[in-house]
Symmetry: C2
Subunit: 137 residues, 2 copies
């Protein structure tokens, strides 16, 4: 496995407008991008914190994954995303070691990254994302 | 506010011995430190991932904070810790902006850091830690 760093931490919020105020005015971070990911039924807001990003996730559909998460668990940390090289191989390797995959093949996520999720049942309760920026060589 | 990076992500697990196997054998990270924090009733295991650390937290007492978290929510991400400069001032500034503090003054955490927690009620559901390594100048 070749994880270089934590690419981002995904946090589910009811309203990104409200949460952005806290991240900017209290924590002093700067929102540099707001983007809708229709496939995931979310609106996202990004902040850089050193090498890592915080990705706020607001649901655009109560039946989407973040809508369901918010209903069940309320606002809070949703997932951790690790930056990997060779995401297809990393998924295969993880599956061969007994990890249950949510995505058997990568798909497009926010910011043009290739992303795939591992099931929290086999990752000690942590919804875990692999992501790769194939624009970087 | 002067946040430089995410110092660590705290993850509650039932058994650090079991979870270490996943982080090492599947994710390829290396546990470099295991430490008991008696004050917090936890045993911790640390992994470096780029600039950030993953801190696994196993409860040593069902009445401690991680014991209660595990009983209520199960295994999963417990908190995010931001590295700050001047932790006392950052706490005061946050409180003046309406954030409810769990720790009004810093105390000693794992790895000799000064730490303090903000209440998730005022941080959009994310248990948030500030920490400062006063050995670094």
């Amino acid at each position: 496995m070749s994880i270089s760093h934590i690419e981002h931490i995904g946090i589910a919020v009811k309203s990104i407008d409200e949460a952005i105020k806290y991240y900017e005015q209290v924590l002093g971070l700067k929102c540099y991008n707001i983007e809708e990911v229709k496939d995931q039924k979310v609106k996202t807001a990004f902040f850089k914190v050193g090498q890592t990003k915080i990705e706020l996730l607001e649901s655009t559909d109560p039946e989407g994954p973040i809508g369901k998460f918010l209903e069940k668990k309320g606002e809070g940390i949703h997932h951790i995303a690790f930056a990997v090289k060779g995401i297809e191989d990393q998924l295969k390797q993880s599956e061969s070691k007994g990890v249950q995959l949510i995505d058997k093949a990568p798909r497009k996520g926010a910011e043009g990254l290739d992303i795939a999720f591992l099931h929290p049942k086999s990752t000690f309760g942590v919804l875990t994302e692999f992501c790769e920026d194939k624009k970087l060589k």
